[in-house]
């Protein structure tokens, strides 16, 4: 079978997803184009160099609607013969773009793809594209729909994670991200976002809160307690699905959950012939990909079965993996992963994660594959696994192997 290689992986810095965020002035198409242009320039791509741009994006309305992938290609310096495919698998959209691209290459449908994604969470509000699973009464009731924060708290209750466990993980994420920035570990991949005149708008992640400690996090109120216990009372729904629990422990808050940010990321995926044609050296092979559906109420446990599936499909075991990226959507998601596989936290999210740096929904899946690759290279390790939990009860995973 044809192998699919990663030739490049970049991301924009993550801006705070609100009015005072640096990227708030940038359109989704523009940030996408900046990212695509960087891939083009860094790899000297020319003409009809890639088969397609597969672009992950969750909230596909307004400026992110209308097949943003194609709009982004046309807004960039890429050849117009390169089309564009907008995809949505919620938080794994960026990863799914990479996995789709890899599997197209492996299957022989084209020699190279640009895959990645974007989310301008401060400009296009999360949830503003609607969602029948939440709104349609017959579906919401039949699937015991609860918002993600409640799901994260169900995980904590079901698997026994305390507020302290969750806060400690958040503090560690902040510390690791701060160290990574201080040591320049992201330098290879983070591209500055510049304006039309070439002036820099943002060149560093701006969501981090250095110095976060247990005490400062301890002061934060649980974010999902009221919607769970009072109006409209989502805990009742959680207990209908998990009747052996007496009550839901609400441990999550803004400080131990992923941040709302703007950002984009892209990878250049291609076969060996593509690399040879452009004089590029493959950095890693995409060894396996997986996606899976899970119970939609607890919703965010997907990384565990997705990892089990990808390991089984690829004939590997958890001990074959040197480093992990498990998206820090909520602390309990990562805690559950650590618990389920009994892996050393020292191998997981070693440069921090979405709690510290933010989670631009459609881009994160691509970002963490890039982060994983950089860290494998930095430490001279071979194999890495990235995985994300996904809304509505899904999970996705990718295994990469340096070459």
């Amino acid at each position: 079978m044809t192998e699919a290689y990663i030739y490049d992986a970049i991301r924009t810095p993550r801006g705070k997803g609100r009015k005072d965020g640096a990227l708030h002035e940038v359109t989704a198409a523009r940030l996408s184009a900046v990212t695509l242009n960087a891939i083009k320039d860094r790899n000297n791509l020319d003409g009809h160099a890639v088969e397609d741009v597969i672009w992950g994006n969750v909230t596909q309305v307004m400026e992110q609607g209308g097949c943003l992938a194609r709009t982004a290609v046309l807004a960039s310096e890429l050849d117009q013969r390169i089309p564009g495919l907008a995809i949505n698998r919620f938080c794994a959209s960026g990863m799914e773009a990479v996995n789709l691209a890899a599997n197209q290459v492996r299957g022989g449908a084209g020699s190279a793809y640009i895959a990645g994604g974007v989310e301008m969470m401060g400009r296009v509000a999360m949830g503003s594209d609607g969602a029948a699973i939440a709104v349609d009464p017959s579906i919401a009731m039949d699937t015991y729909f609860v918002p993600q924060g409640i799901s994260a708290d169900i995980i904590a209750t079901e698997y026994g994670f305390s507020r302290d466990d969750a806060d400690a993980l958040a503090v560690e994420s902040q510390n690791r991200a701060a160290r990574a920035w201080a040591e320049g570990r992201f330098d290879k991949s983070v591209i500055p976002v510049r304006d039309i005149n070439g002036l820099t708008i943002l060149d560093r992640d701006e969501y981090l809160r250095p110095g976060t400690d247990m005490q400062s996090l301890g002061a934060l109120k649980p974010a999902f307690k009221e919607m769970g216990e009072m109006m409209p009372g989502f805990d009742q729904i959680a207990l209908m699905k998990y009747p052996h629990l007496e009550k839901i422990e609400h441990i999550h808050h803004a400080g131990n959950s992923s941040g709302i940010v703007d950002g984009a990321a892209a990878l250049l995926i291609g076969n060996a012939e593509f690399g040879a044609a452009y004089g590029l050296k493959p950095r890693a092979r995409i060894k396996a990909t997986a996606k899976i559906g899970t119970d939609p109420t607890i919703m965010l446990t997907g990384p565990v079965p997705a990892t089990e599936k990808i390991l089984k499909d690829s004939g590997m075991s958890i001990s074959d993996i040197d480093l992990f990226e498990v998206n820090e959507a909520f602390s309990s998601v990562v805690l559950r992963f650590l618990q389920a596989f009994d892996v050393d936290h020292g191998k997981v999210n070693v440069n921090g994660g979405a709690i510290a740096m933010g989670h631009p929904l459609g881009a994160t899946g691509a970002m963490i594959i890039g982060t994983l690759l950089d860290e494998l290279e930095r430490t001279g390790k071979g194999t890495g696994l990235a995985t994300l939990c996904v809304a509505s009860g899904m999970g996705a995973a990718t295994i990469i192997e340096r070459v």
Binding site: V135, V146, M231, P232, G233, F234, M240
Partner: protein, 734 residues
């Protein structure tokens, strides 16, 4: 067919009057609906008619749809009842839509005839839905009148366009109390809820309706949803505000109904899906959901038990044919919680009450209980000071047995002891004489035994109230071996006077209700002993529609009562007694955990008595089993424990009418109302499956789940309970 008549006045207003001669309240039948259309067509076509008023020939407007109509349509449809119900409902929409459009040109919205609805009094169901299709609703200012859409309370939802129209008028959020809670509103509240447009003096009703009709213009009669640019008030589902409303509504309804009431989900779905499309498509969607509910066995069972059979029992379905036995003067012996409650409900119903206790201050406290309930009513604006004085004036609290002279019914509610009761019975009978009907409110002692204290046991009967008396709707009437017809009629007439629902059963240990509740509680406690997660036990019960889990119910009724019942049962049953739950109950009692009354039981409580959560010490005594059962297994144990007892009560002749078994279970102890009651639930399961489950549960958990011979026989013959035992029209109702 003269349910509707039309009279055109000289001023150009055609008045269509609804007056169903054979009924005290207007109800709509299939035939009458067709007549409405005929009259409407005639009025719209008549150039002399400028507008139409729909009025009532009665002091009320309408009670709703004749629920038997829907049942008949379904049952007569042969293989395709859903299609028949769909066609019937859509035809209704077509007629009401014609009324609503009233001749308006579809393009220009011009040239229509104004139609007002003159509502003299209470108006419910399809009556309200017809009114909502009119252009103006004017209601007489009668503070006793109520208007609303209470369908949800009997397990269906407004399917005559009421759901679609009202939700579009006020928005999903505002419509919720009327549609989802079935709230009936007084005229002024109805006006603020926009159910009606005007409240006028009763004598001005028709004149005002005519006046409006004659002055209204085309612009006044075009419904908002028939105008360009209409938007759902409060936001359609994918509008940011509407989004939150719908997400929240699903969660609230699901949490509240525990997913066992199909009507609420169907209603909300009709509103949601309807809000995304034009009005006529929305009506079609409403119809599809409405039919799905009518086809759901739960809805049929709920209508049958909670509406038709409840009403039949209240009207004396099982009353012996003896003359009127209404109570004029009631004697209540014992002014404790039960006696005081009985005195209150009787006085409230206009009956003179002598409330007796051994000490005057005890008797006075009993009367004070009535006063506090009346004060509560005053606070809520439901009781006037005059009414309070009147009711209290009817209660004579005294220690003097001579005051009982002239009573035609005695209800004894003294200490639960055969000797004490016998003494009181004899003493009182010597005052009131042998013709007075003597009733005991015992919940545990055999009536036949207590009747021995009377020289005329044919006049002795059990009238078992549930606590709290003022709230609980059921009264269990128990016939002793020698109880005569007049005593039964007396008890039934009394229950009817106090507007409660009676069931009549024969004398046996724990009668009917307690006989079924005790196994429910015990099954829950057994599971605790087995190491089933207490939260799972409690949640499983609530998720199958029980109002309280067995452990909470035990805490509420107290563990020492449980211990007392266990000891008494053991003494009575001897070797046949199954003592599995005794160590748990006695252990809790020994540890001082008596339930709510000691602020400690299966649950923990704070100092103010607020229930905090399951007692975490329980796990020390009964560690959680490594393997926890499936939810359905727990639910079947809890439900079968009850329904098999109901079947045995029927087998043994304690129950003589399954309607009483079903209605009594729902009203008496809140047995899963969605099911229609124990017998309805077995019918929904199907007797063959029910018998098979008995065998499985018996094999797994013991002989208490052994299939009763009656159920086995019915399973073998493929019979249903309502097929075999249901009486006349009631068996196929709705």
């Amino acid at each position: 067919m003269t349910d509707f008549t039309m009279q055109a006045d000289a001023d150009g207003v055609a008045v269509i009057t609804w007056d169903v001669k054979a009924k005290s309240m207007n109800v709509l039948t299939r035939e009458a609906f067709a007549l409405v259309e005929e009259l409407l067509d005639a009025a719209l076509a008549d150039p002399e008619v400028k507008g139409i008023v729909i009025a009532s020939g009665k002091s009320t407007f309408a009670g709703g749809m004749d629920l038997n109509t829907l049942a008949t349509i379904r049952d007569e449809a042969g293989d395709d009842p859903a299609q028949a119900l769909y066609d019937f409902t859509m035809n209704g929409h077509r007629i009401l839509r014609k009324l609503e459009r009233a001749g308006l040109d579809p393009k220009t919205n011009k040239g229509g005839k104004p139609i007002a609805c003159a509502i003299p009094g209470t108006c419910a169901g399809i009556g309200t839905e017809i009114a909502l299709a009119c252009h103006r609703r004017i209601m007489a200012d009668d503070p006793k009148a109520r208007i609303g859409l209470p369908e949800i309370l009997v397990g269906i939802f407004p399917g005559g366009g009421g759901t679609t129209r009202y939700s579009r008028m006020v928005g999903a959020m505002q419509a919720a109390p009327v549609l989802l809670e079935g709230k009936m509103l007084a005229p002024k509240a109805a006006k603020s809820a926009q159910l009606i447009d005007e409240v006028v003096a009763p004598e001005d009703l028709l004149a005002r309706a005519k006046e409006w009709v004659l002055s209204a213009t085309d612009a006044d009669i075009v419904k908002p949803w028939d105008q360009k640019g209409w938007k759902m008030p409060g936001g359609a589902p994918y509008h940011p505000a509407g989004f939150m409303t719908f997400v929240g509504a699903s969660a609230m309804i699901n949490g509240k109904t525990k997913g066992v009431y199909p009507a609420a989900k169907a209603l909300l779905s009709a509103v949601y899906e309807g809000a995304l499309v034009d009005f006529d498509t929305a009506l079609r969607i409403e119809t599809r959901w409405f039919v799905s509910v009518l086809m759901n066995p739960s809805s049929s069972a709920m209508i049958r038990s909670l509406f038709l059979n409840k009403e039949a029992l209240e009207k004396g379905a099982n009353r012996p044919a003896v003359p009127d036995q209404r109570v004029a003067k009631l004697g209540v012996l014992g002014a404790g919680m039960m006696g005081a409650g009985i005195a209150y409900v009787a006085a409230n119903a206009g009956i003179e009450v002598v409330l007796i206790d051994a000490a005057q201050d005890a008797a006075g406290r009993g009367k004070a209980h009535a006063e506090s309930l009346l004060d509560k009513g005053m606070k809520r604006g439901k009781v006037t000071p005059e009414k309070k004085a009147e009711v209290l004036g009817r209660i004579h609290a005294t220690t003097d047995h001579a005051a009982l002279a002239g009573c035609d019914l005695i209800v004894e509610a003294v200490f639960e002891d055969v000797g004490v009761k016998a003494e009181v019975t004899k003493m009182v009978l010597s005052v009131v004489g042998p013709d007075c009907i003597f009733a005991t409110n015992t919940s545990t002692l055999p009536i036949t035994e207590l009747a021995k204290a009377s020289d005329s046991p044919e006049h002795f009967i059990g009238i078992h109230f549930f606590s709290p008396v003022d709230k609980m709707a059921l009264v269990e009437i128990i016939k002793g071996a020698k109880t005569g017809d007049r005593a039964v009629a007396k008890a039934l007439d009394f229950v009817r006077q106090i507007r409660k629902t009676p069931i009549v059963v024969n004398d046996a240990r724990f009668f009917y209700a307690n006989r079924c509740i005790i196994p429910y509680i015990n099954e829950g406690i057994r599971m605790v002993a087995e190491g089933v997660a207490p939260a799972l036990i409690e949640n499983a019960a609530k998720l199958v529609g029980m109002p309280l889990g067995p452990l909470q119910l035990t805490d509420e009724t107290s563990l020492d009562l449980g211990a007392k019942i266990a000891k008494a049962t053991k003494a009575a049953m001897g070797a046949a007694y199954d003592d599995t739950v005794d160590p748990v109950i006695f252990g809790m009692v020994d540890a001082g955990r008596l339930g709510r009354k000691s602020n400690a039981g299966f649950y923990a409580y704070d100092e103010s008595g607020k229930r905090l959560g399951l007692w975490d010490g329980l796990a020390d005594h009964y560690p959680l089993a490594a393997d926890q059962p499936e939810l359905v297994e727990v639910q079947h144990r809890l439900l079968f424990a009850q329904v098999l007892e109901a079947v045995r009560a029927l087998e043994e002749g304690v129950l003589t009418d399954i309607r009483e078994g079903d209605v009594g279970a729902i009203l008496g102890w809140g047995f899963a109302p969605w099911s229609g009651g124990p017998f309805s639930w077995l019918d929904i399961l199907g007797t063959p499956y029910a018998a098979e489950r008995c065998d499985q549960l018996q094999a797994a958990y013991g002989d208490r789940f052994a299939c009763p011979a009656l159920l086995r026989e019915m399973a073998d013959k493929g019979q249903s309970f309502y097929g075999r035992f249901g009486a006349g029209v009631d068996s196929k109702a709705a």
